[in-house]
Amino acid sequence: MKMLVVFEKHPRIRHIGHLDLMRAMQRALRRSGLPVKFSQGFNPHLLITFAAPLSVGMPGKHEIMEIPLAAEVSESEFLTKLNAALPPELNCLSARGVEDKHPASMASLYAAEYEIKIAPEGAALCDAVASFMAQETIMALRKTKSGEKLIDIKPLIYKLEVTSPATLRCTLALSEAATCKCDLLLDALCAHAGIEDRPHTLSIRLQMYGKDFIPLELL
């Protein structure tokens, strides 16, 4: 069996990179004494997959990982033991046991919801949201390894709203086929609002969704 685990990456440790987070989880599993599965080979390691890596600097409220197990364990026992082996900054919220052949969450991923807190000096950004979203197309410059590319991100923004004076909430495409990152959205929004120096922001990933915006862990 494997466990679909929902966990939180606390803002305090938001700068931990993906590989470091993976190693931290592997070590936590070792500490937990749970019957986890090791890879074969000379350097055996624990097999964990994450639905989607978090960008460095971003906390996550509702992150998802899959952990294959070598023996049956109840969901509640799994949760208790793993949480006992984790620091408070990494906290598991739920665990769901599924069959090994259950489709990988990574493949079902469709979108993610974020909250973006903007530093007080950048509050003007919020005023530009309505006209920004009223545009037919939203062209943004995406930097890739091979260079820069101008793309239309409008179809990748499923929702963008102002929730409090300096806070945005948005749902953006996040799938194997198409992705729009918060940074790209913010760059485009700044350009639209005519703000040259991007204000300091703190983005948090709140939730991940599959098709039809069903929470990913329920799929």
């Binding site: 606390h10 931290a24 070590r27 004494g33």
Partner: protein, 616 residues
Amino acid sequence: MKEFSESKLEKILDTALKPARYTGGEMNAVIKPFDSADVTFAFCFPDAYEVGMSHLGIKILYHIINKQPWALCERVYTPWPDMADALRRENLPLFSIESRTPVRRFDILGFTLQYEMCYTNILEVLDLSDIPLRSCDRTEEDPIIMAGGPCAYNPEPLAPFIDVFQIGDGEEMMLEAIECVRKCKAEKASRLETLRALAKIEGIYVPAFYEATYNEDGTLKAFTPIDNAASPIVRKRIVRDLDKADYPDSFIVPYTEAIQDRSVLEIMRGCTKGCRFCQAGMLYRPVRERSLETLLKQADNLVNSTGYEEISLSSLSSGDYSHLSELCCALTERYADKKVSLSLPSMRLDSVVKQSLEEMQKVRKAGLTLAPEAGTQRLRDVINKGVTEEDLVRAVTDAFQSGWSTVKLYFMIGLPTETDADLEGIGHVAKQVMNCYFTVPKSQRARGLRVTASASTFVPKAFTPFQWQGQDPLDTIREKQHKLKDILYAVKGVNFNWHDPELSMLEACFARGDRRLADVLLAAWKNGCRMDGWSEFTNFEGWTKAFEDCGVDPAFYANRERGENELLPWDFIDAGVTRAFLWREWQRAQKAEVTPDCRKGCQGCGLQRFEGVCRK
């Protein structure tokens, strides 16, 4: 006064290099309410987080302090220069990792001194914390600045900056020190009264209570206590029974990879080989072993609490541990299921036993590290490195037969009495190692032979038989490096590494410096020197200018040979080994006379004077 601001910090973290160095939240970090502790201790390793997190001594003391319900210990490291500059720009004070409390609010700020080239980082940390750099300028509001570790055995270059030095093993002394501060705090004692109370603890040295005077030639004339609380001789502390000494049952597990990111078992402390260049070998005497039983228990604790994939054994000479094979077997067997591997670092080549090599190989094949230190038998006799060429040949042949193919060889240049023949000898040793590989049949040996020879510059250290010897001047070192490069170039297939001799020269100054070097240190830091141990921040001009501006000649400290009767700045410390023993060893060295390992018979080094610590 600078004020801490969470939002300003979060902002600068977003642009910092490796922000995880400053954010904590690691497994097993101890979180206690700051304001309810009687004594608060900020423990600083004066270097980058990933270096400091690798250090065993801090882990032990962090555990011991936090074990007391009334005390709290949190960590501090030297911010990388980009972060230090950002803190200054934003006017933020340096803060502790665990609770983000400004360092200045702690009762005590303690530094561990592992190498001289971190001294500018101490000033950097004090400055970033808004603490006056000099003891004499500190007020009742400022923390008490403590320091310990191997470099505390010659504390003098730091004397004006540190309030209290701890000399020797810290486990018991640290507890006595924080208990003393707790008591003084409860009694509302003044800073001066607290320092006096601390000075009465064995092993503690309060530099402000002593005065140094100098002869006309610049040498030390007298070093005398000027306060009744200070004793003329400060005797190092020794933990007698390591089985009874506290050892952490968990290590903090960093998120970002530390240099040493594994469970560590300290199997023994001290060394009896008597290598004459080795300061640790003299300072950590006598040898004390941990029992197999204690070690297995500690290993269980660490494996279960850290989830580390690897255990390593730590000591100056692991090959000499009485139960090494048993320990290796037991550990390998015990954790096979958990896929925890075992690695033995720095093996002394004369004690590499084939059996334990094979035992280890089952789990992990790290590179083999050997330290012949010198290229000829004559010079190895001078430094009392009890290793022969046959030992070396046997060790590497065994290793190659057991599947090793990477060998690192460590040498020193500039050792006392060294000649060109000794440099040639290094080439000869490297060649021998290569030959050993090719004599092992192809079917038996692993592919991809890699031999690396590293040559560091010899630095004479306090409390070694070479404490009287001058270091080779820079030009001589450079010349020798070039010769050696040519010699090793001729041995095809050997990689050669060497270090900037400038850094070794600075190290030599501070390793045997006196109080007058403190001004140079301060000037160098003001010239922008910091993180001196990192090649990307090398700033030798800053140092040269500092020496010039202070009118101090580095050669006086680094290159000058000291006489038999010269009073040395560290003579007031009783480090266990006596000056008479060291002098005797220095004389024997110059005649290339070896002194056997004292396991085979006491050499009267001085430790026998300490009641019941040495088997003698």
